[in-house]
C-alpha cells in the first residue's frame, strides 16, 4: 500500500506499510502511541473511540485507517495547548463530568465536533451529538452540563458558574 500521509493534531504524519485492514483506532493506539483514544466495543456501538476526521466525529474502531489519506485527524491528545487544557476539558472537570473516565475522550471529541460546527448549540443538539456515546457511570447529566458550559464560554457568555443547580440534572430544559 502507498505511504499513508495525514495531518494528526496539526502535525504531518506518515505511515509506511499499513495493513489495509487496520482500523484508525488501532493505528493511533498501537503504531502512533496515542492511547487517549479508547476502544470500548470495537464495533462502533459505544463511541469511546470517537475522533474527528476533517471536522466530522467518527468512530475510529470501525473507520479504516487508509481512509484518512490527506485528511486532518484530531484526537483527544490534540486538544491541550501546551499546559492549557481545552475549554471542553476544563468544563468536564468543573462540571464533574467524568467518573471512571474511560468514555470521556470519546464524549469530548463528539462535543468538539459539535461545537466546531455549531458554536451555539441548543440543548437538543448537544444531546443528539452524544447520543452515540455510552457512559455507564455518570447518568449523562453532568456531561450535558459540561458541554453546555463549554459552549457558553466559547461564546464568551459566561465563566465560572456551573449551569445546573446543585442536585438537579436536566436532559432538556
Amino acid at each position: 500500500m502507498e505511504t499513508l500521509r495525514f495531518i494528526l493534531n496539526g502535525h504531518p504524519v506518515q505511515v509506511e506499510d499499513l495493513d489495509p485492514s487496520t482500523p484508525l483506532a488501532r493505528l493511533l493506539r498501537d503504531q502512533l502511541g496515542l492511547i487517549g483514544t479508547k476502544i470500548g466495543c470495537g464495533e462502533g456501538e459505544c463511541g469511546a473511540c470517537t475522533v474527528i476526521v476533517d471536522g466530522k466525529a467518527v468512530v475510529s474502531c470501525l473507520y479504516p485507517a487508509w481512509k484518512v489519506q490527506g485528511a486532518r485527524v484530531e484526537t483527544i491528545e490534540g486538544l491541550k495547548q501546551g499546559d492549557q487544557l481545552h475549554v471542553l476539558q476544563q468544563a468536564f472537570i468543573e462540571a464533574n463530568a467524568s467518573q471512571c473516565g474511560y468514555c470521556s475522550p470519546g464524549f469530548i471529541m463528539s462535543a468538539k465536533a459539535l461545537l466546531d460546527a455549531h458554536p451555539r448549540p441548543s440543548r437538543e443538539q448537544i444531546i443528539q451529538a452524544i447520543a452515540g456515546n455510552l457512559c455507564r457511570c455518570t447518568g449523562y447529566y453532568q456531561i450535558v452540563d459540561a458541554i453546555e458550559l463549554a459552549a457558553r464560554r466559547l461564546a464568551g457568555e459566561e465563566n465560572g458558574t456551573r449551569p445546573a443547580e446543585e442536585g438537579q440534572g436536566r436532559i432538556v430544559p
Binding site: 479508547k38 455510552l134 440534572g169
Partner: protein, 746 residues
C-alpha cells in the same frame, strides 16, 4: 476546619482522564511482549474428551498453547474454589476458558486459537433454577450431589398468626433478569516477571489483594512472589470483584518468563465475567385495614450459574432485605441459590439488595391499592426507625434515615401532607391524546460494609513530610482502595486534608501496587467511604498526635508515619445467620434511598418515557456533593436499564446478547428528562464525619418506582423485568380483553 467535608473539590484523577493521558490496563505495553487469546468453551455443559493443540502450536509465531495440564493448582474462586483456571474434565458454562494461546502478535494468537481442537461429550444442560432444584435434575457439580448451593431460612414471630390478623392479603410473583455490568473498559491485563523475579499483573480490580491470594494459590507460589498493580479502572460495578483474566496472564508470564498481554473483546468481556443474579420471588403479604403489615412470606430462588462466586454472600444479603425496610412482626423467608449451566452470577451494584425491592415494593403498592390508601401513606406507617426490630431480630440503630428519604422525595415529587394523610400530586395533561401519565414511588435500603460476622477491615498508612520549619509539607497515604470511578481517591484526600487541617493539594495517594500499599478490602458493598475513610481519618489522627509530640521533643524529625487498621467489628459487631431461625445481627451500617418516577406511557406502542425522577438518599454525611450527584445519577442510569431495557439473554446456556446492540444500556436519550436529588444526612456516629455509603442504594428504588408509575398510568402490573415496550403493550391488550369480557359478562 470543615473546609473540605461537603465541598465539591476537583476530583483527584479527573484532569488526566479528560486529557486522555491516564492509563488503563490496555494502555500498557512492554518491550518484547507476547499476546494471548482465550479458547472458550463451546458448550454450556460437556465432558472434555481431548484437547488437541498440535495444529495451533504449528502456526508460525505461536509460542505456547496452555491447557489445564500447565496450571500448577487448577482452581480458584473468591468464596469457594470451584472454578478451573483452564477447563479440566468438564465445562460448566460457555464462560469457561479451555485453553490459552500465546503468540508473537495478536492476529496469530487469534488464528491459532481457532485451531485448538477440543473434543466434547455434550451433557444435559440445566438453565432454569426451578428445574435445577428437582431431585432428578442433571447435576452441575456432580460431587455435591445437589444443585442447591445454599438455603437461608428466616423465621420471625408466628406466620400463621400474622396472616390470621390480616384484613387483606396480597400475593405476587416477580422475576428480575440476568444483568450485565457493561463497564466501558473491557478486561485487559499484562503479566510479567518484575526485576525482583516476582509475578506481576497489571489489571483492573476491585480487590487487588484478594486477586493476589487466588493467583498465588493457582501458581503454587507464596503470596510474596505475586503482586498486582492497578492503574485506572474503566468502571467495575461488582464485575471486577472476581478474577477474570488475572491468573491467565500470570500463568503465561510465569511459564514463558516474558511479558504477556491479554485484552478481551466486548463479546469476550460479556462472556468472561459473571452477571447480576436472576431472582424468582414469590410473596404473600398481609396487612390490617389501617395498612399496618402483619406478615410477610417470601420464597426466593436465585440463579448462581456455573460456579459459586459470591452467590452465597449475595443470598445472605438478599434474604435480610426481602421483607423490605418495614416493621414486620411475623415473617417466613426461604432463600435459595442454585447452580445452573448459565454463566456464573456475581457481585453487581447492590449485591443482592437490588432485586428484592422489585418484590417488596410492588407488594406495598398492591396492598395500598387493595386498601385504597396512598402509597406514601402506607409506607410511612410501616418504615423502620431507630429502635425497631428487623425480621432478623436485630434492633435498627445508628441513624435509620429511610423515613426521612421518603418524606423528602415525596414532597419534592409533589405529594401533599394533609390531615387525611399523604396525597398524590396531579400530573397534568399528557403530551398527546394516546399517552397516559403516571407516578410511582419506591424505597430501598442496603448494608454498608461486609456483613454476617465477616471481619471487615481496612488499613491505611500515612506519612507526613515536614519542612525545615517543622510544618507539614507533603502527605503521602498508602491504601489499597480501588478507584473504580466512584471517587474514593477524592473522598480519602478530603478526609485526610480535613483531619490534618492541611491544604488538599499537599495530599498524595500512593499508586495501587499490592506489594506497596496495605489491604483496604474491596471497592464494593458501598464500603470504602466508611471503612477506608475511617482508616485514613484515624491514621491521620495518630500521625497528628505523633507530629505534635515530635514538635515538643524538638529533635528535628522530618518524617512522621502512622498506620491504622479499622476493624468494623470493634465498633459494630455482626453475627452469622442462625441456621434454623435466621436470627442475627446482620450489618455494620446502612444507606437508604427513595425515588419517585413520573412517566408517560404510549398506549399505541407500549413505550415508556421517564419525564422526571425525584431521588433522596441518606448517606450519613455528604463528603462531595458533585460526586454524590454523579453516583446517584449513575445509579439511576443502571436502574432505568434494569427497569426498561436490560436483559442478558442465554438460550440453553448459549449467549444471545453479545454486544451493545443486543444488550442495550440507556443512552442520554433514554434518561429521565429531569432528575431532582435531595441528600438526607442522618449521621452515623461510627462513620467518618458521620458518613456511611452511597454507591449502591440509588440503583435500588428506580425500577419499582418506574413500574409503579407505569401501573398508575395505564393500569397494568409488569411483574417481570425489563418492562420492554412489547411487554407493556401486551399487558395493556390483555387487560383490555379482560375488561371487555367483564363488561360482556356483566
Amino acid at each position: 476546619m470543615n473546609r473540605y467535608i461537603g465541598a465539591s473539590v476537583e476530583r483527584y484523577d479527573i484532569a488526566t482522564k479528560v486529557a486522555g493521558s491516564r492509563k488503563y490496563p490496555q494502555d500498557f505495553n512492554m518491550e518484547g511482549q507476547l499476546y494471548a487469546k482465550v479458547v472458550w468453551s463451546e458448550y454450556a455443559h460437556a465432558r472434555i474428551l481431548a484437547i488437541d493443540t498440535k495444529a495451533a502450536e504449528q502456526v508460525p509465531g505461536v509460542v505456547a498453547v496452555f491447557t489445564h495440564k500447565d496450571v500448577p493448582v487448577n482452581e480458584y474462586g473468591i468464596y469457594l474454589m470451584d472454578q478451573r483456571v483452564l477447563a479440566q474434565d468438564k465445562v460448566y458454562s460457555v464462560g469457561d476458558p479451555v485453553a490459552l494461546v500465546v503468540a508473537e502478535n495478536e492476529k496469530v494468537a487469534a488464528r491459532a486459537a481457532g485451531l485448538v481442537k477440543v473434543s466434547y461429550e455434550p451433557l444435559p444442560v440445566v438453565t432454569d433454577v426451578r428445574l435445577a432444584m428437582r431431585p432428578d435434575a442433571p447435576l452441575v457439580h456432580e460431587e455435591r450431589g445437589t444443585n442447591i448451593l445454599h438455603h437461608i431460612p428466616i423465621r420471625a414471630g408466628n406466620i400463621e398468626e400474622g396472616f390470621a390478623r390480616a384484613d387483606v392479603i396480597v400475593k405476587g410473583s416477580y422475576y428480575t433478569p440476568r444483568v450485565e455490568h457493561a463497564f466501558m473498559q473491557p478486561e485487559a491485563g499484562l503479566g510479567y516477571i518484575d526485576e525482583q523475579g516476582r509475578v506481576t499483573v497489571i489489571c483492573a480490580a476491585q480487590w487487588p489483594h484478594d486477586d493476589v491470594r487466588q493467583i498465588a494459590h493457582a501458581l503454587a507460589l507464596p503470596e510474596e512472589q505475586v503482586h498486582e498493580i492497578v492503574p485506572a479502572i474503566g468502571g467495575a460495578f461488582g464485575g471486577r470483584e472476581d478474577i477474570s483474566l488475572q491468573i491467565l496472564v500470570a500463568l503465561a508470564a510465569y511459564k514463558l518468563r516474558r511479558p504477556v498481554k491479554l485484552v478481551y473483546t466486548r463479546a469476550e468481556s460479556m462472556r468472561g465475567h459473571g452477571k447480576r443474579h436472576p431472582f424468582y420471588m414469590r410473596y404473600r403479604t398481609g396487612a390490617t385495614r389501617d395498612g399496618y403489615l402483619t406478615a410477610v412470606e417470601v420464597e426466593c430462588i436465585t440463579d448462581a450459574g456455573s460456579a459459586a462466586s459470591t452467590s452465597i454472600p449475595v443470598l445472605q444479603n438478599a434474604a435480610s432485605f426481602l421483607a423490605g425496610p418495614y416493621y414486620v412482626p411475623h415473617a417466613r423467608i426461604d432463600a435459595y441459590t442454585v447452580y445452573t449451566n448459565n454463566i456464573l452470577t456475581m457481585a453487581m451494584r447492590g449485591f443482592g439488595a437490588t432485586q428484592p425491592p422489585f418484590g417488596y415494593e410492588l407488594q406495598m403498592d398492591k396492598l395500598a391499592e387493595a386498601l385504597g390508601m396512598d402509597p406514601v401513606e402506607i409506607r410511612m406507617r410501616n418504615l423502620l426507625e431507630d429502635g425497631m426490630r428487623a425480621v432478623t431480630g436485630n434492633i435498627m440503630r445508628h441513624g435509620t434515615g429511610i423515613k426521612k428519604t421518603l418524606e423528602e422525595a415525596a414532597l419534592a415529587a409533589g405529594w401533599r401532607r394533609t390531615s387525611a394523610g399523604w396525597q398524590k400530586p396531579d400530573l397534568g395533561a399528557p403530551s398527546a391524546p394516546h399517552k397516559r401519565r403516571g407516578i410511582g414511588i419506591a424505597c430501598g435500603y442496603k448494608n454498608v460494609g461486609y456483613s454476617f460476622g465477616f471481619d471487615d477491615k481496612s488499613e491505611a498508612h500515612v506519612e507526613l513530610r515536614l519542612d525545615p520549619q517543622g510544618q507539614i509539607a507533603r502527605v503521602l497515604i498508602r491504601i489499597g482502595a480501588s478507584e473504580v470511578g466512584q471517587g474514593v481517591l477524592t473522598t480519602l484526600t478530603q478526609i485526610a486534608a480535613e483531619t490534618l487541617d492541611v491544604p488538599i493539594e499537599k495530599i498524595r495517594l500512593a499508586l495501587l501496587d499490592t506489594a506497596v500499599v496495605p489491604n483496604a478490602g474491596s471497592s464494593s458493598a458501598s464500603r470504602q467511604t466508611y471503612m477506608s475513610g475511617n482508616a485514613v481519618m484515624r491514621a491521620c489522627q495518630k500521625a497528628l498526635e505523633a507530629y505534635y509530640e515530635a514538635l515538643r521533643a524538638e529533635e528535628g524529625q522530618d518524617v512522621i508515619t502512622a498506620s491504622y487498621v479499622y476493624r468494623a467489628r470493634e465498633m459494630t459487631p455482626t453475627t452469622p445467620y442462625d441456621p434454623v431461625t435466621g436470627q442475627c445481627e446482620p450489618h455494620i451500617s446502612y444507606s437508604y434511598s427513595t425515588q419517585a418516577a413520573i412517566v408517560e406511557v404510549d398506549t399505541e406502542t407500549g413505550e415508556v418515557e421517564i419525564l422526571r425522577m425525584v431521588s433522596s438518599t441518606d448517606l450519613g454525611r455528604v463528603i462531595h456533593p458533585a460526586n454524590v450527584f454523579g453516583q446517584v445519577a449513575g445509579g439511576i442510569h443502571m436502574g432505568v436499564g434494569f427497569a426498561l431495557t436490560e436483559e442478558f439473554i442465554q438460550q440453553e446456556g448459549q449467549i444471545i446478547t453479545q454486544s451493545f446492540t443486543g444488550y442495550q444500556i440507556p443512552t442520554v436519550l433514554d434518561m429521565p428528562r429531569e432528575l431532582i436529588h435531595r441528600n438526607v444526612e442522618v449521621a452515623d456516629p461510627t462513620g467518618p464525619f458521620g458518613a456511611t455509603g452511597l454507591g449502591e442504594t440509588p440503583t435500588l428504588p428506580t425500577a419499582p418506582a418506574i413500574i409503579h408509575a407505569i401501573h398508575d398510568a395505564v393500569g397494568v402490573w409488569i411483574d417481570s423485568l425489563p418492562a420492554t415496550p412489547e411487554k407493556v403493550y401486551r399487558a395493556m391488550r390483555e387487560m383490555g380483553k379482560k375488561n371487555a369480557r367483564r363488561r360482556q359478562g356483566g
